[in-house]
């Protein structure tokens, strides 16, 4: 189905879903790039360059879907203030350390992929056509994240504690933002755009069970919507740090803009 085939309410919700996925990918790309240098090994840091590239490629394809809704993706990508971003709030600030980067790959990127899988198997044609390529690229992120998670889990107690703390701080937020259990998620599921949010949360729990067990953790079962939830942005109150949004928008390169 194309955008125009859905009811006005579903169209609006679909547009917000696309923006939430695209903005989260864009901010995740920024947060990976923060660690391009300074990782525990040169090779691991360089891997974040490839992952940043993928995240921004995916974000661009997702933003381009907004054309179906009469929205100019260039305007969306390059003109919005931080207060309009719909990215998961755990990406508002840089990852504090490499353990947080690993948690970001496994938890944030992993949840994003699951959200995309649900979207790619739904009724919206543009998602069905574009997302499989993104998921193919994400397979490398998953392998990278899981390998690092194993390495840290089998290492020092201090490393395990850092990783566990990072996972604990991100997981409820990312599940709430990317797999929300609100009325809008029900509306999209009812229209066939995505599956039921409860099913996706259960699937995420199964995927994360093994890596989290190695840290002595169990996946957060069903985090409730926070009190400061902003339905129009599919996230709690707050916004990404200004410097990250300036980079994402390309503020200092306006004179060199080529799109």
């Amino acid at each position: 189905m194309n955008a125009r085939d859905f009811s006005p309410e579903v169209r609006e919700a679909l547009q917000r879903l696309i923006l939430s996925l695209a903005d989260t990918k864009r901010m995740l790309g920024i947060r990976y790039s923060d660690w391009l240098l300074g990782a525990p090994s040169i090779e691991s840091g360089i891997a974040t360059a490839s992952m940043s590239q993928d995240e921004w490629g995916h974000a661009r394809l997702l933003y381009a879907m907004l054309k179906d809704f009469g929205v100019d993706p260039v305007e969306v990508e390059h003109s919005r203030p931080p207060a309009e971003y719909c990215s998961a709030s755990c990406l508002d600030e840089p990852f504090a350390d490499w353990a947080a980067v690993v948690a970001g790959v496994v938890v944030v990127d992993g949840t994003l992929s699951l959200a995309l899988e649900r979207f790619a198997t739904g009724a919206y044609d543009a998602a069905r056509r574009r997302i499989p390529k993104m998921l193919a690229e994400e397979a490398f992120h998953r392998d990278f994240g899981q390998a690092w998670m194993r390495r840290i889990s089998e290492g020092s107690e201090e490393g395990r504690q850092l990783l566990a703390a990072a996972v604990e701080s991100m997981l409820p937020d990312v599940v709430t933002c990317l797999l929300p259990g609100d009325d809008e998620a029900e509306l999209l599921a009812g229209a066939g755009v995505t599956g039921q949010p409860g099913d996706a949360r259960a699937r995420l729990g199964r995927r994360l069970a093994e890596p989290l067990a190695a840290l002595g953790m169990v996946p957060a079962a069903d985090p409730p919507l926070p009190g400061d939830w902003i339905a129009s942005r599919r996230r709690p109150a707050g916004e990404p740090a200004g410097d990250a949004v300036e980079r994402a928008r390309g503020d200092r390169n306006r004179a060199l803009f080529v799109e």
């Binding site: 590239q53 921004w56 490629g57 661009r60 056509r129 390529k133």
Partner: protein, 134 residues
């Protein structure tokens, strides 16, 4: 020039953008089979980083000719391929070098997703010749 990309010598790794120094002379008039002519011309457009054509890489998903207007359905190896703009420009320039082609429309497509399985046998030979496994 249909076989241009087959067994390309190593030195093409230093070719001009899109292999344009290797492009054949444009046809003097509209060919009897314009679609086949477009595929042949695209077979001369080399990837900016590898000595293999965009057709042998499997990046061309379709071609349609309507009068002097050509539509090309093009994919890329990665969603943020840094060579996207180069490839599109090379494709456009090669086709517009033909006097009978007046307009080129390029549609980016992602379905089915590109994988290395789309590389032709000739493309694999060319890549192996350049020391790239595929």
């Amino acid at each position: 020039m249909a076989e241009l990309s087959v067994g390309l010598p190593m030195h093409v790794a230093s070719h001009m953008s899109g292999g344009r120094d290797l492009w054949s002379e444009p046809l003097p008039e509209r060919p009897d089979d314009p679609e086949a002519a477009v595929w042949r011309a695209l077979g001369e457009v080399l990837d900016p980083e590898l000595p293999v054509s965009v057709t042998d890489l499997g990046l061309i998903y379709g071609v349609r000719v309507d009068g002097g207007r050509v539509e090309v359905r093009l994919t890329f190896t990665a969603t943020a391929c840094p060579c996207m703009e180069f490839i599109e420009e090379d494709v456009r320039d090669r086709l517009l070098a033909e006097p009978w082609i007046t307009a080129v429309e390029i549609e980016q497509v992602w379905d089915p997703p590109w994988t290395s399985a789309r590389i032709s046998p000739a493309g694999r030979r060319a890549l192996r010749g350049a020391g790239v496994s595929a």
